[in-house]
């Protein structure tokens, strides 16, 4: 894979690399969880951008709606975790439909503006509706009652039982393994499910909408309906990613839902390649490995400069990818060229 080549070049440079941290299990388990979460976010983008031709820049907003709704339903409404999850999924999907109904009639670029504005509105509301969301202090536990209730209580129980099971095989199982397993199982399920529906006549209509919406309408397809469904499924995937991020970070905070999240997911999409669901998981793993591995390069420069350099390296990899493989790792070049 050509995307990894620059790392090899770096290894030959006279740099000191701290291999101790580089090989730390819990660190890389965390990276893998994050990669899984971003894979879910980017799967939604793949459905929207890669297969429907609608430019959605609001995935971070759907993640926030999913995460916050789940936590608020558990903490404030006293719902069980198992009820809060599907309820938050439905609410996020309904929110997606609400946003899409007026805005999906717009041209693709205007729709993109609406979605990014939507995501920012969600984040700013979360930041300011302190009574409900905890504002900048974030959301974690409700300590007002006799017993402290946290939104991830149920998850911690599940985690404990999985870890207990894992102790059969290893005396000290990695604490992040249960989340890692659940996240990637979800990624796999979502990838298989999306690949399946993409091959049905339903998926064919989506592609037609991507290629030429007017042609699809002229052949009797209600294109708005398909775009709405695409957006709602994408919102659902965003909600799932929001749940996992909330469980991973053990707190829900507005800064975790900045537009940057969506842009990183686009990075994943571009790396993996458009119009291929399997490329998303690979793209996410590569992006996060690159981002995190570059932490360990030690250079005789200040920390801030080094932090900036990390992103410069990732940027360079993306530029090289665009130069030598513009369709991404799994994308089809013909489709990209013919698409315009």
């Amino acid at each position: 894979m050509s995307a990894l080549a620059p790392l090899g070049v770096l290894a030959e440079l006279p740099l000191a690399v701290s291999f101790e941290a580089f090989t730390a299990g819990n660190f890389w388990a965390g990276v893998a969880v994050l990669a899984g979460i971003y894979a879910l976010v980017a799967l939604g983008l793949q459905l929207n951008v890669g297969f429907t031709g609608i430019i959605n820049f609001g995935q971070a907003g759907f993640m926030a709606i999913g995460g916050y709704t789940m936590a608020i339903l558990v903490l404030e409404a006293g719902l069980s975790f198992w009820l809060a999850l599907p309820a938050a999924m439905l609410i996020t999907m309904a929110f997606g439909l609400l946003v899409g109904l007026p805005s999906l009639r717009l041209r693709a670029d205007y729709f993109a503006i609406v979605t990014i504005a939507m995501a920012e509105v969600v984040r700013l509301v979360a930041q300011n509706a302190r009574g409900l969301t905890g504002g900048n202090e974030g959301l974690f536990c409700n300590t007002e009652g006799v017993n402290q209730v946290c939104y991830d209580d149920t998850w911690l129980d599940i985690e404990d039982s999985i870890l207990g099971f894992l102790e059969n095989f290893s005396s000290d199982p990695e604490i992040l393994l249960p989340l890692l397993f659940v996240v990637w199982a979800t990624v796999l399920l979502a990838t298989v499910g999306l690949s399946f529906i993409q091959r049905t006549p339903w998926g064919r209509v989506l592609r037609a909408v991507r290629e030429d919406e007017d042609a699809a309408r002229a052949l009797g397809k209600n294109t708005l309906l398909y775009k709405l469904q695409s957006l709602a499924i994408s919102a659902l995937l965003g909600a799932l990613a929001g749940f996992f991020l909330a469980l991973f970070l053990a707190t829900i905070h507005p800064v975790d839902y900045e537009p940057l999240v969506t842009f990183f997911a686009y990075g994943v999409l571009v790396l993996g390649g458009l119009a291929n669901y399997w490329g998303v998981a690979i793209g996410s793993l590569i992006l996060w490995t690159l981002l995190e591995a570059t932490r360990f390069i030690e250079l005789p420069i200040s920390d801030e400069r080094q932090a900036a350099l990390r992103f410069a390296i990732v940027g360079l990899v993306l530029i090289l990818l665009m130069a030598f493989r513009p369709q991404g790792i799994f994308g089809k070049r013909e489709e990209m060229v013919l698409g315009d």
């Binding site: 529906i197 592609r207 037609a208 007017d214 309408r217 002229a218 052949l219 009797g220 469904q229 013919l338």
Partner: protein
């Protein structure tokens, strides 16, 4: 030939700001005929197509198709009722294989709904098999069968025109509206396209209304000619009647049109 109107367009108006692109156009298309819609550039022919197929929302008027009012209905509903259009600039779904272009157009596929995908997978598969067979048959008829698995974007301009016509036929139309079907294709392919139209009318009872600039084609291949100028229908009748109509001659000469309606075959495709 039946004289009953299949499509009845009455006093349709479409304005863009202060411009009356279609200014009270009235015409009818009879069941089973091949009707040509001609007129100088800017006469409002394509705009009229867009209004009656729902792509533009008309301001006033009435459009009745098979006895049903369809004015201001959305395009997909109109297409499903059997009035299917093609576009002046072909809209091949470029990054999709030719066969997918064809199969997409077939109606009544339960698998096009998510509920159908989940609850009626068998019905969806059966319909797919049926539709694929129809699609291959039609592609064969249009000499495109060899290209079935190729991306539609790799087809030549003429092949795209044929594909668009074949694809429109997959939608089981009663009336086909073709916007400049001969424009930009070579004469041999154009002749084949005209043969197809005649054959489809004969064998499948498809009615045609087509916009065309090539007067030779219009005069020799249509049963009736409708002439538009400045957003209105100024004449309609058999080709020889229209050709000698003074209003038509004036419209073409006075309107700054590129071709004379009276001079047979003189009208090239003007942009």
């Amino acid at each position: 030939m039946a004289t009953e109107a299949l499509l009845d367009i009455d006093e349709v108006v479409k304005r863009f700001g202060g411009i009356h692109a279609v200014d009270g156009a009235t015409l009818e298309v009879r069941d089973g005929e091949i009707a040509a819609l001609i007129g100088p550039n800017g006469a409002g022919k394509t705009t009229l197509f867009n209004v009656i197929t729902g792509f533009y929302r008309g301001d006033r008027g009435s459009v009745t198709f098979q006895g049903e009012q369809i004015f201001q209905r959305p395009p997909h509903q109109i297409a499903r009722r059997g009035m299917v259009r093609t576009f002046q600039i072909t809209k091949a779904l470029a990054a999709m294989p030719v066969i997918d272009n064809m199969m997409l157009a077939a109606p009544d596929q339960p698998g096009e709904r998510l509920s159908g995908v989940i609850f009626r997978p068998g019905a969806s598969r059966r319909r797919e098999a049926e539709v694929r067979e129809q699609a291959l048959e039609l592609l064969d008829l249009f000499n495109l069968a060899k290209l079935a698995e190729d991306y539609a974007g790799t087809l030549s301009g003429g092949q795209r025109k044929l594909l668009e016509l074949a694809r429109a036929l997959m939608a089981r139309p009663k009336l086909l509206l073709l916007d400049e079907p001969m424009a930009g294709i070579n004469p041999t392919l154009g002749r084949r396209l005209l043969d197809h139209m005649q054959r489809l009318r004969r064998e499948k009872g498809v009615t045609f209304l087509f916009i065309e600039h090539d007067m030779e084609v219009v005069m020799n291949h249509s049963d009736r000619v409708v002439v538009m100028a400045e957003g209105r229908v100024i004449a309609a009748g058999e080709p020889h009647e229209v050709r000698s109509d003074q209003k038509v001659i004036d419209a073409y000469l006075g309107g700054g049109g590129a071709s004379g309606a009276g001079s047979n075959g003189a009208g090239g495709a003007s942009s």
